[in-house]
Symmetry: C2
Subunit: 376 residues, 2 copies
């Protein structure tokens, strides 16, 4: 393409498209859910990593976000954001940049996921300006088995006490990731999982209180949980979902969103048509789509808008091979070279990460370009 595109038909492919109208709906729906549950929304920026989406998701407040990397935190700080949580285990190598963020912001929080973190915060306190302290979220493993202190451990109480006894640190909140919600379960099981999660995190909060540590914030995340919350979650006071900005095929399969809510896709064009083999080749390979979510050849890891009988069977670096689903037939003459297709990814966090810019559209009209922050 010689010039900047003004309509979807003109975009260079492959590219990452964001439907701004769907994104606004997704943002508003989650804000409404949080109001209904009387919890604060601290959305996770890891999916989109842009100021533009965060402005919409914070409803213009530019307050209260969770980030997965230091460059995210720094970009938001540079853009006037406040109340930023680096939702990642604090370690010694992150102390210099975290101390700078603590010094320049009125509220910046680090996450403590193990006893070693207390030591590195204590040793790093000399970098803090006068009157500044480390604000700490304690990460609790309520059964997922990934990171954080085991909810039923003594270690969590001990670490929280050590933090609160140190004049340069304070426990602000506890957080537990509810990654269980990515399992395909019945609505009844989902509700039960959420009840167990709340019971366990509440137990931790009470044990901390008994030990003299008062916790202000009790939060949990995950897009499926916050999209399909059980009333029990109103016991907490912060939700940290991230993926809902775009949603994706995975969330659709989980029932966390409808097809009309998926706000991102990869635009691609047919580059070769081989009816003798029953295949179309498109300019969307793993460089544009990412392999994340793909289990094996031919499995169900994305969907192609408007063409339920087509499936992406293989992806190579810059090529995708599309075939027709078994038992279905299609006229390959309907897909000449140059035909544009829109592929909805399995995991939008991974797909967005493959792109240095997002093309923003409203209907067929291109309305902007957003550039996500990258790296570590």
């Amino acid at each position: 393409m010689d010039s900047q595109p003004s309509t979807l038909a003109e975009v260079a492919t492959p590219c990452f498209l964001v439907d701004i109208d769907r994104l606004r709906c997704n943002a508003k729906r989650m804000l409404d859910t949080c109001r209904k549950f009387q919890v604060d929304l601290r959305h996770h920026t890891k999916t989109h990593k842009t100021v533009e989406a965060a402005d919409i998701m914070t409803d213009g407040s530019r307050r209260k976000i969770a980030c997965s990397t230091l460059p995210e935190c720094e970009m938001y700080a540079d853009n006037g954001y406040e109340d930023i949580l680096l939702a990642y285990s604090i370690t010694a190598d992150k102390i210099p940049r975290c101390s700078q963020l603590t010094n320049r912001l009125s509220e910046f929080h680090v996450m403590l996921s193990g006893a070693e973190g207390v030591t590195c915060l204590r040793e790093g306190a000399s970098r803090l300006a006068d009157g500044k302290h480390w604000s700490v979220f304690v990460e609790i493993d309520t059964g997922l088995g990934r990171s954080g202190f085991s909810w039923d451990s003594e270690a969590v109480v001990q670490a929280a006490r050590e933090v609160d006894l140190d004049p340069h640190m304070k426990v602000t909140g506890v957080y537990t990731h509810c990654g269980h919600s990515y399992a395909h379960v019945t609505p009844e099981q989902r509700a039960e999982d959420q009840k167990v999660l709340v019971a366990r995190i509440t137990d931790v909060v009470q044990r901390l209180k008994s030990a003299g540590v008062e916790v202000t914030v009790v939060g949990t995340g995950s897009t499926p949980t916050c999209s399909l919350p059980d009333p029990v979650l109103s016991t907490l006071n912060e939700f940290h979902p991230g993926n809902y900005v775009f949603y994706d095929y995975q969330q659709l399969l989980l029932g966390a969103c409808g097809e009309g809510d998926v706000a991102c896709c990869v635009a691609t064009r047919v580059v070769s048509c081989r009816p003798e083999l029953g295949t179309l080749l498109v300019d969307c390979g793993f460089m544009a789509l990412s392999c994340d979510g793909r289990k094996q050849r031919g499995d169900d890891f994305c969907f192609i808008m408007g063409h339920p009988y087509l499936q992406l069977t293989s992806i190579y670096q810059e090529l995708g091979k599309i075939t027709v689903k078994q038992g279905k037939s299609i006229n390959f003459n309907d897909f000449p070279v140059g035909t544009m297709l829109f592929i909805y990814p399995f995991h939008s966090c991974a797909t967005a990460a493959m792109h240095d810019r997002y093309i923003i559209h409203s209907g067929q009209k291109v309305v902007g370009v957003w550039k996500p922050v990258k790296g570590w």
Copy 2:
């Protein structure tokens, strides 16, 4: 980290490391192979996408490369490279930039993978400067079933004739991708596959010649094939491998390289140690490693240098979960938080793509930073 690293121990993690000494050996070995087989090396730049690596791989000539994207072609053209092939099906949307490359370089080649390509080249010829023509490589499918003209089709002869009869185009070469070589086969089967490939591409060349189309270049690619070539390949005159610049775990499993040849890895640090669960968490998730090559949980999709009993069992966005292989035991006290590990990826093309910069090292010393070109 506050300042630029001078040794590996100081690098911020996760990051993509390139062992410059191994890379130089890999480059030299492939140049030697090509000399021995009396073929030209036209290495594929898709794996590394940097000027620095291409300078080494072309032995300083800055001539004869294959690229997967237009930004690669343009970056190399900007840096004085000549004889560049865009090894990707030509389509109408690529004509404007390809005509610019044809006009500014003495040798730029496009790839014709189907009959529709002839039409778009014909229609795009008006963009060529006086005295310029489209130099065409015809892509042949010798049985892989991906892109290109079927080797035994009439369509390939017809398209090549149409190209050569047009005063604005000329067939320069034929190319066939030998992706079969990524199947795990015996050495005997590999040799047999290469014989079949050569027989088929030779058949195409002879049929083109009978139709009046003289082909100067006959090439094939793939790193396993060019790393493990059968003497029959000396019949051809160009090799187009790409991945050998770095190699990876996949190539190691295929026998295309040894462990000491893998020239890239992701440096990561332990961020959490949970001996009660038998897991270490590291700051290498799919954002740093890519999921490409991963089939299912716990499978064998990378290796951790110096620790044959450790395996990466799960990867999340910014976290990797390491466990001990079944039947083995390890002392978790040997891996405190902050311990640096080096993960060799399954597919280095995919892993390199996750990074905006590569940290170049010689032994423990950091000797440079390379920035690959991105996008489309």
